[in-house]
Amino acid sequence: MSAIPFPKPDPKILARRGEIVAGLAALLPGECLVTSEDERRAFETDALTAYRRVPLAVVLPRSTQELASVMKFLHKEGVKVVARGAGTSLAGGAIPQEDAVVIGVGKMNRILDVDYPNRIIRVEAGVTNLAITDAVAADGFFYAPDPSSQLACTIAGNIGMNSGGAHCLKYGVTVNNVLGLKMVLVDGTIVEIGGEFLDSPGLDLLGLVVGSEGQLGIVTEATLRILRAAEDARPVLFGFPTSEQAGACVASIIAAGIIPVAIEFMDKPAIEICEAFSRAGYPLDVGALLIVEVEGSPAEIEEELARIVAIAKGHGVSTIRESKSAMETAAIWKGRKSAFGATGRVADYICMDGVIPTGELPNVLHRVSEIVAAHGLRVANVFHAGDGNLHPLVLYDINDPLEQAKAEAAGAEILKLCVEVGGCLTGEHGVGIEKRDLMPVQFSPADLAQQMRVRAVFDPAWLLNPAKVFPLEGRTPAQ
């Protein structure tokens, strides 16, 4: 029994499945349409694997025009649509429903234009995050947001969730790095928002669409800001006897006016899991670890590191290890970025994404361990400490329904705690279905109603990713 409810599929749509599929087949070649049950099953979930729903059909258009024709048809037929990038959402943002058609952007994966003098790149939405940086890395440039899933996740999904990553402390999240979008609205209308310039005219629709979780339309192209990479960058490992000391050190670094490129935190369980997987050379005799990355010229790096080392010493740092080579740097980041995958080898987990004021780090880490222990479960913490974006991984056995319920209950308590101390439910993963029913913890009914009225401007009939973000009860307008 799944704890998070899905809306009941519309029997009228299910009954018309053959007709709807035939309509789609008239619009697209066979290679762009997935209809057999076996093949549809490949799209039944995302990275929130405890929940699964086989969609009515899956469409993989090759162009904006093709995608628009599909949207127009489905809108006319009143069929729901779930947008999908690579299906790496940890919040269930891409999980379908039985009466919905999945529209995936995976076939639209071309880099369209690279413009170094203006420092922009134009891409189709199905291109992966890492492929963007790969396209410009040889010329010394990069695309800044770097979610851990960057090898697989698409820019479409990044835009849908306003994804972040380890290096966002200095360079911002997706919304700070997108200049323009091409998007298909629910009725098939193609719109362009922003472009190759700063601050789009009129209302900031770009800011609204980024992070809207596929509820306002489907993005098919993006114009992104690319940046010239620093002369050099060096991650340094700082081991501390306790999590509290590491947390206090983070607050002191920021308070001293130092904004490193990244400050990543791992507690003992996370260090052990990641080290076993990646052999990155993380110290195993510490209670918590910070990965602090600084960048610039060698002299600038030395200067900033000296200040950080002095601060860390004030917080009882027990191990300091600098990366000495590009290989070591790669290993250090590989270990961190494979944290979720590595954890998945040890146990099933749900990954929380709450954000807290950084001053609350020691307090919240302590209370998280109490909450999880009270449910008889284990937790590994690995997260972006510089901006207070926690990722407690609550470990459980997916085949034990009782444990799953306990894990979800512990997760909900952790997120409520984040809101209670002044933070929020999600910093970069999105609400999806996972945190949908916790929205009233953070928002008043009036807050939510205002958001839903804005949503309704784009999708009055709740056809786009309709099971997500907003609690199923009390929707505006009512479904």
Partner: protein
Amino acid sequence: MIPVDETEVADVVAGARAARRPIAIVGGGTRAGLGRPVEAQIRLETRGLTGITLYEPSELVISARAGTALSEIEAVLAAKRQCLAFEPMDHRPLYGTRGEPTIGAVAACNISGPRRIQAGAARDFLIGLRFVNGRGEIIKSGGRVMKNVTGLDLVRLQCGAHGTLGVLTEASFKVLPAPKSSATLALHGLSDDAGVAALSAALGSPFHVSGATHLPAGIGADEALTLLRLEGTEHSVRHRRDALIDLLAPNGGAEELPAERAAALWRAIRDALFVAEPRETAIWRLSVAPTSAPKIVAALADRIDIRHFYDWGGGLVWLAVAPGEDAQAGSIRAAIAGSGHATLVRAPQAIRAEADIFEPLSVPLMKLTAGIKTSFDPDRIINPGRMYTGI
């Protein structure tokens, strides 16, 4: 009306809605010339909503009520060596206004300055808002933490909406450490094309340029000046300054400006002082792809008299023109041809009431914009017509 708290703001709005009487929001009044004139029977002043409500330097966040003077916030931040990194422009010189700019207007109008090219705009630092919508409801969006993707982002929707979607009552901004030192390099006598090319080269370098401006001859000095600003710790600035001088050798050789002159120039660039006089000229702000900016300017200069300079590496063009009938809106928008946008920042009242102040939107985007206005303000009583007819 001068409400002293959020509840009173909600009461004013609810009363105005019941009476179908439109409201004009008034902050410090220093940017009243920005946007289309609002015809309203009720003036809702935010000067009763003041005070910093939260400042945690170690968490890089400040919150203040909307009517709080920007100068108060900047002073409090400076005492802890922090700043609003987006360097908000002061519109007083351009409009010849007095009074104190407020933090609410910075949020409502998305006001940024030269550092926008590197650090981001006001909209990139605004992390939380409280406001009263046109139904008289108190709404919050975002919060006080650095990352937040919970629900739809109404914060960004409000930032740059010029008060058309509600009365902002409190804003939270991410702040950053103030730069410890700064250096400004100047290249002399470059054409617009060569100046913007030098800015592109510098911005495409690893040296973190935080200001990139080209002042054509006759703007600020007799000969053209191409300016690049570096900020950070003393060591780092010195290193990057030397590296950038080497990099720019093919562009004509850069020299460092004395600190005082540089600071005065960046203030003048931020506030568009170079085009403030003569007062009767109309002023435009064009946002375009940097490398296309000199071409657009050249095409315009063939047709009309202009004075101009470039900020944001060329991507922002400040333009002064004779007011004429429509402040040359037709020529300017034709020159941009959809590959950017133009905002009429200053013009006589009669033109402001008639011309498109903000870039006209495509039909579907206009429809969405109107729908969003209605979703916040169903009877269109808050700052009606400030951005577009009826919006």
